[in-house]
């Protein structure tokens, strides 16, 4: 199977109009802003539990989700806020969920690691590493069984490639030509360990062993991610799935918000290099201004507007109601 490197190209640009570009930019900034606020909520001891930051990986979620329809499904991970925003979720319900409030997406019963937003096709984040691979493959199975042209994207990290479930379900997806894209966000670290120390051989080679077409793409380049995903989604709808994407990216924060002392597994210079030279938002902003799609002032205005949105949502969530005690045994069973 071929492994292709898709680059941010004039061809990709040609497919999009300014509106699409600006929406992708907006969604990436929304994710970054959401995470900055979530991080602050944790640091200032206002948020119960802990959380895993998506900052740095925005181009992956946005590039992929912008190629999907509302009815297409995704499954997400413990580092899932980015996927959730990219698939169409609102700040207010997300912050409420993070704070365990009644108006949260899951009425405060899921929290940061379990946000699900089925109205936008998000089947939920999963706190078991690799735990959603079966669910994603099952969603693709439903599409095939019921003759729908929905596509499912299964987000997971490089760490999850060590789980046996992945091999079982990729095997079946390939046997049955299911409309699913396995999207491996390779951020270089499996919790507190370098990927090279937990993964033997090549990541894409794992999928190729099952005869699944696999691609490696620059996960900091939103246009490259989007363009590749659009092609694969289209082919999935025609029954050519499954596919596998390895998206090379980076998480700016530690494994979780409390993982601050991390020099034993990665250097500050490395983090600085990614932030300064490979930031997906900065890079895309440069592209937008150089192509004349937006001015710096316009982008700054957009950022300020999103910041204000987030601040308002955080304030709302902090004051929002906790679920009533009577909810504690509600939703154990469906009616």
């Amino acid at each position: 199977m071929s492994t292709s490197k898709t680059k941010n190209s004039a061809q990709a640009s040609a497919k999009h109009n300014a509106e699409d570009f600006l929406r992708m930019y907006r969604q990436m900034v929304r994710i970054r802003t959401f995470e900055d606020n979530a991080n602050q909520l944790y640091l200032s001891a206002k948020m119960p539990g802990l959380t895993h930051m998506y900052s740095g990986e925005e181009a992956v979620a946005v590039g992929i989700c912008e190629a999907l329809r509302v009815t297409d499904k995704i499954t997400s991970t413990h580092r899932g806020h980015g996927h959730c925003v990219a698939k169409g979720a609102e700040f207010k319900e997300m912050f409420c969920e993070l704070l365990g409030k009644e108006e949260g997406y899951c009425r405060g019963k899921g929290g940061s690691m379990h946000i699900a937003d089925q109205s936008n096709g998000n089947l939920g984040a999963n706190a078991i590493v690799g735990g959603s691979m079966g669910i994603a493959t099952g969603a693709a199975f439903t599409a095939k069984l019921l003759g729908k042209d929905d596509v499912t994207v299964c987000f997971f990290g490089d760490g999850a490639t060590a789980q046996g479930l992945m091999y079982e379900v990729m095997n079946m997806a390939a046997l049955w030509n299911l409309p699913i894209i396995y999207a491996c966000e390779n951020n270089g670290y499996s919790e507190y360990t370098k990927t090279a120390e937990i993964a033997a051989g090549s990541i894409t080679g794992r999928a190729e062993a099952f005869g699944i077409e696999a691609h490696t793409v620059d996960g900091q380049d939103v246009l490259a991610v989007n363009s590749l995903t659009e092609q694969l989604v289209e082919r999935c709808r025609k029954g050519e799935g499954p596919f596998f994407m390895e998206l090379m990216t980076y998480r700016y924060h530690g494994h979780h918000v409390g993982d601050i002392n991390r020099e034993y597994y990665r250097s500050k210079d490395e983090e600085k290099d990614w932030r300064e030279n490979k930031d997906p938002i900065t890079q895309f902003a440069r592209h937008l201004t150089s192509e004349g799609i937006a001015t710096e002032e316009e982008l700054e205005a957009m950022q300020a507007e999103i910041k204000a949105d987030a601040t308002a949502a955080v304030e709302y969530a902090l004051k929002a109601k906790y679920p009533d005690a009577s909810e504690v045994d509600m939703h154990v069973y469906a009616a």
Partner: protein, 336 residues
């Protein structure tokens, strides 16, 4: 009424529900042409095709995971797990994913799937193909657990399970597949959480599940010959449990033995005995007795295996002691 085997009853239930609802499909190892090693599914692939009777590789966590995702997105999978012992392989998908999705999503997502599997020792299959593990899943909130005790129950409970919007685990006793019982021609459902009084009595209540219902019925025969009147109750589902019916019976008889083929410690028998103790204490004239499988891995040798599960003679002997008001020293009798 016509008599059919438990195996045929399950087959009929699946066929009827698959005809009624095109989102129902079967997934598992050798479910299609092979019809499973117990031949329960024979003929279904001919009617419904391989798209809905789906053979999988030998990958229990994988196909269980796929079923969970399919159930969350509009399908109604019936997962065929060849042996109940393999439930250990799928625990994450069943207990961390399927059982919790509805709750964790605040009621937005649901997982209407059926996991068909089996229980029961004395098939000379040794410790990894003989376990009765229903208590393990009954411990997890979000799962329902049904234990059919005859062909009649097997059909009615299966049809209810497929229509339920929750993950339901049905354990069939693999020794009972060829046993016949009266099953009506016309369609029927058996609601969950409704116990069945199999035999009325006044001196002692025998609460039994799955194939232990037959053991209890035989024990009741033995006791009747001695002038002891035993009531036999089959809860049919242990989650939800028809607690009220069990308590009512025990209030009437003042004595109870709970019989179940799972291991005795921390098991179904303990749970039911405990509830009777809490809610019928002032009506008890004797301690509630548990009779489960011995707390040993199921041995292969027939000479040993038969010692591990409750027998009619063992149940009758214990009932006799309770009715006579003898002090019990805590030693359980598994076989006479």
């Amino acid at each position: 009424m016509r008599e059919i085997t438990l195996s045929q009853a399950v087959n009929e239930a699946l066929a009827e529900e698959m005809r009624r609802d095109e989102t129902v499909f079967i997934i598992g190892e050798d479910v299609a042409e092979a019809g499973t090693p117990f031949k329960v599914l024979s003929g279904l692939v001919e009617e419904f095709g391989t798209a809905r009777v789906v053979d999988t590789p030998i990958a229990e966590p994988g196909f269980m995971g796929i079923a969970v995702g399919a159930a969350m997105t509009g399908s109604r999978p019936v997962v065929d797990l060849m042996f109940g012992d393999f439930i250990f392989l799928i625990m994450d998908q069943l207990c961390n994913q399927a059982a919790k999705t509805h709750y964790m999503s605040g009621g937005k997502l649901s997982v209407p799937l059926v996991l068909r599997t089996n229980l029961g020792a004395t098939r000379r299959s040794a410790a990894q193909h003989s376990q009765s593990l229903h208590a393990l899943v009954a411990h997890i909130p979000g799962l329902k657990v049904a234990l059919p005790s005859s062909a009649y129950e097997a059909k009615g409970l299966m049809k209810t399970a497929i229509r339920d919007n929750n993950p339901v685990v049905i354990f069939e006793d693999k020794l009972m597949y060829q046993e016949k019982a009266g099953v009506p021609d016309e369609e029927y459902l058996i609601p969950f959480g409704v116990a069945n009084v199999k035999r009325e009595g006044t001196d002692i209540t025998l609460i039994a599940t799955s194939s232990m219902v037959q053991v209890a019925e035989k024990a009741a025969e033995i006791l009747a010959a001695e002038g002891i009147s035993a009531e036999v109750i089959d809860p049919r589902t242990i989650v939800p449990l028809d607690e009220a019916a069990l308590i009512k019976s025990v209030k009437k008889t003042s004595r109870a033995i709970v019989i179940d083929e799972g291991h005795q410690s921390y098991g179904v028998t303990s749970e039911i005995a405990s509830r009777l103790n809490e809610k019928a204490f002032y009506h008890l004239d004797a301690p509630v007795l548990r009779m489960g499988a011995m707390d040993v891995p199921v041995p292969f040798s027939p000479a040993l295996e038969d010692l591990t599960v409750p027998t009619p003679e063992g149940v009758a002997a214990n009932a006799r002691k309770l009715v006579a008001g003898e002090m019990l020293d805590g030693e359980m009798i598994h076989a006479a």
